[in-house]
Amino acid sequence: MQKGKKDKGKEKKQLQLRGIPAAPGITIGKVYIVGVEDLLPPERNITEQEVPSEISRFKKVLESTRKEIINIEKKISKEMGVEQGKIFSAHLLVLDDPVLSEEVVTRIRKKKKNIETIFAEVLNKYVSVLSEARDEYLRDRISDITDVGKRILRNLIGGDTRGIEGLIDRSIVIAYDLAPSDTAMMHKGSVLGFATDIGGRTSHTAIMAKSLEIPAVVGLENITDIVMPGDTVILDGFHGIVIVNPTKRFIDQYEKEKKKHEHLEKQLIDLKFLPSETLDKRKIILAGNIELPEDVASVISHGAEGVGLYRTEYFFMNRKDLPTEEEQFNAYRSVAARIKPHPVTIRTLDVGGDKFLSQLDVPKDMNPFLGWRAIRFCLARPDVFKTQLKAILRASAFGKLRLMYPMISGIEEFRKANVVLEEAKSELRKKNIEFDKDMPVGAMIEVPSAALTSDALAKEADFFSIGTNDLIQYSLAVDRVNEKIAYLYEPTHPAVLNLIRMTINNGHKENIPVGLCGEVSGDIALAIILIGMGLDEFSSSPIAVPELKKVIRSVSFLDAQKVTEEALKMTTGTEILNYAKAKLMEMVPDIALMN
């Protein structure tokens, strides 16, 4: 069934594969390899007399396949909502396509080959043309066509094919690509997870997996070549990792991780509707970080109140052209509308550093993190910047948007960015296009100079958001990509904590809210210290939200303030970290034990 090498060594070696995380969760189990490679029957020549019967066989199969699809559509609409069911309307369009069936009929008359061969030829022709399409969305839709195509082929050939339907035991499904209808037939009970060679985060399969809540990793490139029937794999849908034939140590480690997440899931249900406030009723906003509009679902399901960081650069990646204003507007609007009435803090393009965009022609800096990036780049390229600002402004009419500039190093940069924003606003006004006139505009505080001059910035900014990842690397002069000096990257370094506290205090003096986004926000040991500093908002990856909420609800602001005070008297990062961990153990033991 599976393609690939059967002559692997006698001893099964552990192998770690990295793909794209498509649906969260961790699962460990035996593999079930879904094969589609041998769907093609041998080619056969037919006589003139056989042509009509082959054509009528084709028409009959089209009809039965159509019934099959309608049944799946009904089932999915009922179980998973009308939205998911709609995927199959696209399948019906392909099935009913006049050009496709005409071409099959013409070719069979001309070539006199069995219908399976002819149909596969025509199908491949369309797939190969479409796979060269520039549009990612369009390329993802190839799976619609192959899905229907394979279904028709399966029905033409008849007999046994190893489809997902054959799966009985609880297994992890491995495939080159999974058709949406395959994913749809998966039952939570028998499918533990799935891993595929191809696919992106926006492919139907990824979306389906998320709604079925089955962990999934896609885009693994060659997993079907690597795994063999009977292999055990660990599938980590949070990080997009698949470990084939894991050692006992890895299995134990992941079992622990899995339990932790299951435990969290339970807490999540309990915590989801409870307010995020301390024992003494200090309200702290818990928001989620997102990269794509699809991530909104996870923000909502984890009980986050809004989006604290919408990274927009992913929009610009993996493509040759620049996203249009319209395209950006549609994405921003959909996020704003879905998160409403909660706010969405949208960060303008943060390119450079470790994120390069081919179409923008950003030269490689010797020192990329100190180079031409983020707001520096945007101010130099007002065409790119203003297009994005207009899209954001237009979307602000559909929800509660907050605009944030990355990598602000001082007040002048903030003012310059606002000049472009005003230009964008007046252009929209001229066209009578609506936008939120009072959209708050904030600065991301991630350069030490901004933190040190946050008193001045606070007079003009509507809010601050502390970006800890960069703030740490800039203030400690530690390249966070370099593993040799990773030990120096200390979130608890007194210098870092003092900059954070200074920013919060300066913000509060001018009555503006101060939030924090970055890995630290999800670093549970530090949470109490940050609460004690008076932080107004945490924005973290949505999966970290329940844990943070638990901590917030378990401490009083008064006690947290005392912890902060003690911590800031210490002189080393190690001391502070150990103290923070000890306090977490004392105040929120069940969370401390899980970490």
């Binding site: 696209a90 392909v94 006049p98 050009v99 369309y126 969305y137 369009l138 249009t324 319209e326 395209e327």
Partner: protein, 90 residues
Amino acid sequence: MIIKKEVIVRNGSGLHARPAAMFVQIANKYSSVIKIVKDGQEVNGKSIMGILMLAAEKGARVVLTVDGVDAEAAAQELETFLLKEKDPEM
């Protein structure tokens, strides 16, 4: 009746995927024969494959030909669809 119109595609992301499917669904409501020509390539307007092959991007110039008893209404609705700036929600 035959109606022939030159239209510039204004759909947000061109005549791709979702808009293409919408176009075909509209076309199928009418009995007229519907054709689209772009750069000399002619495709059946009722075929999703055909339209996808055309790869008409936003701003592309296409010629829409509608032939049949309900040509007028069909041409009208399809033209309006192509000129809509907002991406359709399916």
